[in-house]
């Protein structure tokens, strides 16, 4: 009797499982004619509100007035063209005709104005970046007056948080209405976004019918999702899986250098680092190739300066090399000598503290490598790992060096990095860099409108940073993605702002 009961329970369980599996495959069969793709990224998304998160732009829901292309140049998007007067304080953008929101409403300057007004209302960051004083709308003409001349305003409008949103629609956190080729149909915060094609897209219908965006912060889980077929395109699979993914014929990989740079900061509050020779000596102690090959497992390019060479304002950097001999020569110039195994100046051994943080696991390893190289020259370096590097370096002066990482030119313009990292009071100038020649170039850049002249000034500024070794730039980590061979017309973007585009396609089995 008992056996019979057990048998019944097991059969019922099996039947239930079978039903569920059958249901899933039926659903797949039902959608067989439709083209769908699943992206899996590590970018967490708790909201779809484009003014607070990048996902809506990445997923092709919302679009910005200006975009940055793969040559890292600005190009028109929802704005057809723009012009300025008053040395960059009054800007007029011509909004593209024949663009509709996904609810069918026409996009005009008034809609853009209301979107930008909401944007600076909900985002302190955008309010600070855009410095908007007044916006006027007249049919397709949008006029923005800024609080001060802002020659790089078009570049700031590349920022995904400035994406244009229909502000009359209420549920912007879950179902924002934009002008992009896809509209959201379901969103589970932090986990999944489902999209369908918007047939009225102004730039031609998208090739895919549906797309799914999923998020997972675990690199191994992302790799397994690609291998199991749960995802078609996976961002940043586990580094250790790269070789096996490359060996798999059904999977393709795409690698591009990112706009991010890992660097070493010198704290100029410590008089030691006011001496250019000391900074140069430390620069020679950095083994960039080893960092890229070993610490970054080959997933990085060595960096001779802050910006990738593709930018028009990138100068010919001085060639960087790892050389203990040359480092020693510069320490000699700076007045240091070797005594009892220690590098000393005026009887005082050189002993320093380097800050690092675990959020980017390669940075503590870079700090360890520098510690080990410095030891060979008799320099004692103490490593301190802090939880929140930005706050620590801003509030305390008891550090000498810091490993750091940031995207130096997120929107195709040098002014963000130059102003933040080298101007007095800049939020990422905790090392109190104060170089009058550099300040002059950046001030002039801030007041210059003409693009060619701006590039010249930025190039001069970067050359000064390079020659003075105000920071030591180490590597540009790569963006890496792997995808199923059935995916077509998809390319990893350097900026990572545009993931799902109208051109992405899939070959049906």
């Amino acid at each position: 009797m008992r056996k019979k009961r057990l048998g019944f329970v097991l059969s019922a369980a099996l039947a239930l499982t079978a039903c569920s599996s059958e249901g899933a495959s039926n659903e797949k069969r039902g959608n067989a004619e439709e083209k769908e793709i699943t992206f899996l990224s590590n970018f967490p998304s708790e909201t779809l509100d484009p003014h607070l998160n990048y996902t809506a732009v990445r997923a092709g829901i919302n679009e910005t007035l200006v975009k940055i292309n793969e040559d890292l140049e600005l190009e028109p998007w929802l704005a057809e063209k723009w012009e300025t007067k008053d040395n960059g304080q009054t800007w007029t953008f011509t909004i593209r005709e024949n663009v509709t929101f996904q609810n069918g409403d026409k996009l005009d300057a008034e809609a853009v104005k209301r979107s930008l007004q909401r944007n600076i209302g909900v985002s302190e960051a955008m309010k600070t970046a855009l410095k908007i004083k007044e916006i006027k709308a007249d049919k397709q003409k949008l006029t923005i007056v800024t609080q001060e001349p802002l020659p790089h305003l078009p570049s700031e409008l590349v920022h995904p948080n400035t994406a244009i949103l229909d502000v009359d629609e209420k549920d912007t956190g879950k179902k924002p209405v934009g002008t992009g080729p896809f509209e959201p149909v379901g969103f589970s915060a932090g986990s999944k976004l489902e999209l369908k094609r918007y047939d009225g897209y102004w730039d031609g219908k998208a090739k895919l019918d549906h797309a799914v965006f999923t998020f997972n912060e675990d690199a191994n889980a992302r790799t397994l999702a690609l291998q199991s077929g749960d995802a078609d395109i996976v961002y940043r699979p586990a580094i250790e899986s790269i070789e096996s993914l490359k060996a798999d014929n059904s999977i393709k990989t795409d690698v591009v250098p990112s706009l991010r740079t890992h660097l070493l900061m010198y704290n100029n509050v410590n008089p030691v680092f006011k001496d250019k020779h000391v900074r140069k000596a430390f620069d020679y102690l950095i083994d960039r190739k080893e960092t890229a090959d070993s610490i970054m497992a080959g997933q990085a390019d060595t960096a001779d300066g802050p910006f990738l060479s593709d930018f028009p304002f990138t100068p010919e950097y001085e060639k960087k090399e790892y050389s203990l001999e040359k480092a020693k020569e510069h320490f000699d110039h700076a007045g240091y000598e070797m005594k009892d195994g220690n590098l000393v100046k005026e009887g005082k051994p050189l002993s320093l503290k380097i800050l690092t943080y675990a959020y980017r696991p390669e940075l503590p390893l870079i700090a360890q490598m520098l510690q080990s190289e410095a030891k060979q020259l008799g320099i004692q370096i103490e490593i301190q790992q802090v939880e929140n590097i930005d706050e620590y370096i801003a509030k305390k002066d008891d550090w000498d060096l810091a490993t750091y990482s940031l995207i130096t030119s997120p929107r195709g313009d040098a002014s963000y990095f130059l102003n933040s990292a080298y101007m007095e009071g800049g939020a990422i100038n905790p090392g109190k860099i104060d170089n009058s020649e550099l300040t002059d170039r950046i001030s002039r850049l801030n007041a210059t409108l003409e693009e060619e002249k701006r590039n010249e000034l930025a190039e001069e500024a970067v050359s000064i940073i390079d020659q003075e070794r105000l920071h030591s730039f180490i590597v540009h980590p790569n963006n890496f993605a792997a995808y199923n061979e059935k995916v077509k017309n998809w390319k990893l973007s350097k900026s990572e702002y545009y993931i799902l585009t109208k051109d992405v396609d899939v070959i049906q089995p």
Partner: protein, 313 residues
């Protein structure tokens, strides 16, 4: 009735103390939400602007003043607005909590399905083969990190066999791997706990007396010994429920499961104080309520407690 009223009063006091301690710790811990709000790694910002915004948001006020303001809003059932999403914290938590509770419930079911039979058999066949195997299972289960077990399960059931989805939360199938991962890790502890508790119960006078009265072994085991053995197991379960709910974070991240754990991890990274504070209170409330229920369950599980309490009231 009086006991329940006392417990509720204790609960309110507990929440007040918890909210003050968590608020104070959060404010004293390193981390500055203003820097995240201003996206300093993406937007050119001056230190002056950072200070200005800090002042505007009242972050420069003494902690006690900030806590007072928070408490006033709390009594109006307002936990504030999330910095990350600009949505009310209560809404954020209410959306995520059910998913975590479902995952926790399923894990507890898996844990029970493993630990009750295995723990019982280990006690009944003490030091026999099955007991040795269960000991090995407990040792492995307790030693294997749950994220690694999760990865192994994905490798087998999603990649190699293709039976189950590796991530997400669309259907009941999506719950299986995360629940098994959590359930197995928990079961390892409870198998041993139940075994030792059962061994103790089986030697108690009431079991000997039941045997003498001629009750069947099946009845003695299921209705007397096992029930009595559940008291320490449920006590430990009640106490560890908080860490169990907290422990789902890793599994939620691994399986891309949209629970409250992932939300709070993001909130901690971005120093989204209203969300962190709301989470601590929600969890505190939940664990306290469960512990009250655990206390009440003793009356059902152990007649001795019921009789004692009945006599005193």
């Amino acid at each position: 009735m009086k006991m329940i009223a006392n417990r509720l009063l204790e609960l309110v006091l507990f929440l007040l103390v918890l909210s003050f301690i968590s608020f104070a710790f959060m404010k004293l811990a390193p981390g500055d939400p203003v820097r995240y709000m201003l996206n300093i790694d993406d937007v050119a910002v001056s230190e002056e602007r950072i200070e200005e915004l800090r002042e505007e948001l009242g972050f420069n006020e003494p902690i006690i003043v900030q806590y007072g303001l928070w408490l006033v809003r709390f009594f109006q059932f307002d936990l504030g607005i999330s910095y990350m999403t600009q949505q009310p914290v209560t809404q954020e938590l209410a959306e995520k909590l059910p998913a975590t509770l479902i995952l926790t419930f399923c894990s507890v079911v898996i844990m029970t399905l493993i630990s009750v039979p295995v723990g019982s058999l280990s006690a009944l066949y003490k030091n026999k083969m099955i007991d040795q195997v269960s000991r090995l299972f407990a040792l492995i289960g307790a030693s294997v990190p749950s994220f690694w077990l999760g990865l192994l399960l994905i490798q087998w059931f999603s990649v190699k066999l293709g039976w189950l989805p590796s991530m997400g939360s669309d259907s009941i199938l999506h719950l299986i791997l995360p629940s098994v991962t959590l359930g197995v890790a928990m079961a390892a502890v409870y198998v041993r706990l139940l075994r030792s508790s059962l061994l103790e119960s089986l030697n108690q006078d009431f079991v000997i007396s039941a045997k003498a009265r001629g009750l069947s072994s099946f009845r003695i085991f299921w209705f007397h010994a096992l029930r009595h053995s559940m008291v320490p197991v449920i006590t430990i379960f009640g106490v560890s429920l908080g860490s169990l709910l907290g422990g789902t974070v890793i599994i939620e991240v691994l399986f891309s499961y949209p629970g409250i754990g992932k939300l709070v991890v993001d909130a901690i990274v971005r120093r989204d104080y209203p969300v962190i504070q709301g989470y601590i209170l929600f969890m505190g409330l939940f664990v306290a309520v469960i512990n009250i229920l655990v206390d009440l369950s003793y009356r059902y599980l152990d007649p001795e407690i019921r009789l004692k309490e009945g006599g005193s009231t």
